[in-house]
Symmetry: D2
Subunit: 338 residues, 4 copies
């Protein structure tokens, strides 16, 4: 970060700046309001998300996606149960064991699936062999990620099929929507269409122009009651919570969440266009997984592009709400020139 | 909050606005920095606190005092152990069972003590009767609150005596410093003088002009290593953590933390001066517990003073960094006129 | 234990021998039966207890009272909740923090009450001051001990009043019946009469002539389903569980549990008769708490009586199913002669 | 079990009867001894195992292998850590999530390996890709099973190589010895030779002629101190623990544990001799995994042989200390005749 040429950042959307309208909303919230979630903005969340999804919702702010995912799951999974998720799901790979903590030792039951997405068949391949006896951990819920860890999206019918299975088996259904905006922008559908049958959604803001707020949206408001207690118990109930609520409301106002996601997605498409069969997965959101040799990555880094290696022969590029068009085009050209 | 006359707020310092210099520091942090605690501000915390306390420290940001307290304690207390604390300590009364969660079922061992402070005798009264056998939960740590839940402060020698006892008994020592600034401002001593023998300090900022950042300061840096894992596992590692680090650094720069605390303390003294023997505890920080009948409280509320009832015959007033001198004086006069 | 004169044991009923009929039943169970609880004896427990209590029950064996209490409570209490119990309840004082472990950090909410018994007023004194907000741990269940830790019994109407309160407040009701037999023998009532409104009972056998088996009796069979998973998860599902089931069935056969309890109670009454106003609590089961100076205790110990000190000025004597009449009479005379 | 022809049982050694010498020892323990582990037999365990292994040991009884495994691991693994084990290890497959409970949410890190055994390479294949950062669960221990879940044994040099790796990486090493006797009998080596570098061993008795006792043997006695607290906290400290100690001592007396294991192993060899290339794994202890079509299994069951299916095309046969030679020979002949 100290080089004279500024980096062209494609490391992660989680390091991007905060959107100006989020800043404005936070500043506007700086009065002496009731603490915790007694302020008007926090109180408005249920209604705002009910409007957005077209059905009754109850929503809580929380500071991180890890906390959102785990608090959501904690309302559906007993300590002796399990959660079916993809082997490369964030809750399995990147949360430092938080599900084990929040779920009091419940187990992640790992499924395989193309592009880090699950199908009903992927799920039954995991749960059908589980004997219905006390020696084996029984599934209590399914968690899917929208967009997936490989930047692919579930279409409404795909979510619906999983929801149908979950309901038939008595399982809760959680959606990790750290990049839910990117998914909905990509699908160009109603948010409610792609969450039909979902019990709780982690609605991401931080990767999409926010600072420190995610929403947990419960489509079954009864679950939210438990989540309120668990949030406090996890030390996630901030006294000046109005600043988190303000961020979320700012994202919803004028559909900023979609505007930001579209910008990130468009930058990803710009780059994808020059990647050809280097692409390891379809680019449906704001992440690209690109086959690149070490030497090729060296060439790109020499041009100030910053990104993560993905194993030995590939790289991951992530665009964000603020990715400059120049940077995206330059990266596209640089890849094309390899 | 909807009345035409603005309220004169003495409810809690946790609802106060954010100090302008904290805002400035946050805005200045809004670049594309490495996520989590890879940014320069987060990286600076160890050194900043080492300078402040005059010995080697390791420090982490976290969003709430509850998380700070519990993560600190989790480095000292095994799941089968216990924490001695005052019966009215925040960790016992106000954290929604968070210690039970973070410490995996460890037990709070409740002590009595004047003004919510503990003496070595108060502590031994709890731990000496515990048989050294597996049927009883053994103490692993002591937690004290500075300033105490009744706004009283531990002098350096008082902390030292507890630290000596803790060391002799093999117990960790944690200090809940949600209002540590108010205590140090009151004592007018070096911060290091009043933390001698303490293993971990929750260094509060939110009640003192911050927005959403507290520091956990480990005087034994080895403990910080565990805390880093536990913080992530608790969903408290924010990707844009630089905004938390910025708040803490802003509080340390130019001793803003002391400046703010002195302002709050001074307002409390202004009010205390007119309370006479209505005071239930000495006013040594920024909280006042005042004997007031229901009718008297009614009179104060009619004058727009906002505060909490404290049982049936008393009220709690809390001043903050931004308490207006006019409001403090008006409250003093109003109480004097009762 | 190495003295030439055999001790006259009044230390605890938990150290007594195993009843011959329990031994016989265990030996009779020593065939190659299906493991875990697939054997005929384990399968019979539901029906046996349903017969005993006159309503539908589901029952599990487990090796210890601590496990029984905690597994029972785990079906009623969420990790963020609390259990109201007496300050001197076994779960609070003697289980090494097991409730914190089994309940995943849930809290014991301690009540006062005469003779270690609780009344509805004792319970409301604890729960009514709890604010209905997320900062405080909410009660989820009540646990009472029958007979109490001071050897006193709840009459059916006393249990009923607590059950009524529990139901009205949405709380589960657990009865720790480590000495349930002694209580029922003392009350001379139907077992079902004194468990009306109770959700789960720890039905003790070990202190009453058993070796290593207690029953958890669920009066709401739905709770038993969870308990089966939790029992395995706690490592309490023994593969040769038939030997535990055999003990319990032996206790029920021909009401051995009552026969043994009556013997112990009678021995306690024999001793009580000579204690006069030395008795600290009414003797209603098989425990005596007797005011005795250190010198007086010395005198008794010199006569080979073995017992625990109870604080500085008292002693605890416990009789068991096998207490010899001679020993009881001798103790009665020895106390009378002091 | 209701057929007129008695079954010839090869289901599991965990359903076998209790050895007469174990019964005798239990009966002999039926005096009024100090409760918990204050009796002479419990007190003797440290020395008995120290003698057996030729180095200082500390040992505790516990009722089940699941409890033994989990309590052992709980002394080595912090809640935020992980345990490397085989994908088919008992702790992963058959303990109902007990490790998640006892380790407070720590994670099992699953390795592949021939015949359910692990090599150092199998272990490094799991732990080397784990980034040393807080987002991923770090390994704290390794657990291996002796004999393995497929009835294969680790030779002393194989254990030694794993121990060397564990030590180099700062990991604890646990051995699940539910069938440790079968392994040592098979290896015909000193018990100490095959536990060099192991920190804790679950020394199985129940599958080897015991009733309800396993020993946890700590080769680092400091770990036993924690285990004592955790055992009580898990409700596994039985008041009449002398009956568990008696079982273990009976197993050690005159090397009954080896005598029983040899008998079971010999029966397995008898059967193995006729299985030819139907054997899926070498038969090194008392389990046989045999390729058998559904029709073939039907034929065997018609001859009263009882066993488990192992997937669609195989069966598992387990011999025990009491397997009759006639039954083993009959099974061998029946398989040969298929």
């Amino acid at each position: 970060m100290t080089s004279s040429t500024p980096l062209r950042p494609f490391m992660s959307d989680n390091a991007a700046p905060v959107h100006p309208r989020v800043w404005e909303a936070m500043r506007a919230a700086d009065d002496s309001a009731p603490p915790y979630d007694g302020d008007a903005l926090s109180q408005a969340l249920d209604e705002r998300f009910s409007d957005l999804f077209g059905r009754e919702c109850a929503a809580l702010w929380v500071a991180t996606g890890t906390a959102a995912n785990c608090l959501a799951l904690a309302t559906m999974v007993q300590p002796h149960g399990g959660v079916v998720c993809h082997r490369e799901a964030h809750i399995e790979m990147d949360e430092g064991g938080a599900p084990g903590f929040y779920l009091h030792g419940a187990k992640l039951l790992l499924a395989e699936g193309e592009a880090a997405k699950l199908t009903p068949d992927d799920i039954t391949a995991v749960i059908d062999p589980i004997r219905d006896d006390v020696h084996q951990v029984q599934p209590h819920a399914v968690s899917i990620t929208q967009a997936s860890e490989y930047g692919c999206v579930y279409r409404p019918d795909e979510v619906g099929a999983i929801a149908t299975l979950a309901k038939a088996r008595g399982l809760g259904l959680h959606m990790d929507g750290a990049r839910f905006g990117n998914a909905v922008a990509s699908l160009d559908c109603a948010p409610g269409a792609v969450t039909e049958g979902v019990d709780a959604l982690s609605f991401g803001c931080v990767k999409n122009g926010g600072m420190s707020a995610e929403a947990i949206v419960f489509f079954d408001p009864a679950l939210a009651d438990v989540a309120h207690y668990r949030r406090k118990r996890a030390g996630h109930l901030q006294s000046k919570g109005r600043f988190l609520a303000a961020q979320i409301v700012a994202m919803l106002d004028g559909d900023l969440w979609l505007e930001n996601a579209r910008a990130a997605n468009a930058a990803a498409q710009e780059i994808a266009g020059s990647c050809g069969n280097r692409l390891m997965h379809p680019v449906e959101a704001n992440e690209l997984f690109v086959t690149l040799s070490p030497a090729e990555r060296e060439v790109l880094r020499a041009q100030s592009f910053a990104f993560y290696d993905w194993g030995d022969d590939a790289a991951r590029f992530v665009t964000a709400w603020n990715t400059r068009h120049d940077d995206a085009r330059a990266l596209a050209q640089a890849i094309a020139s390899l």
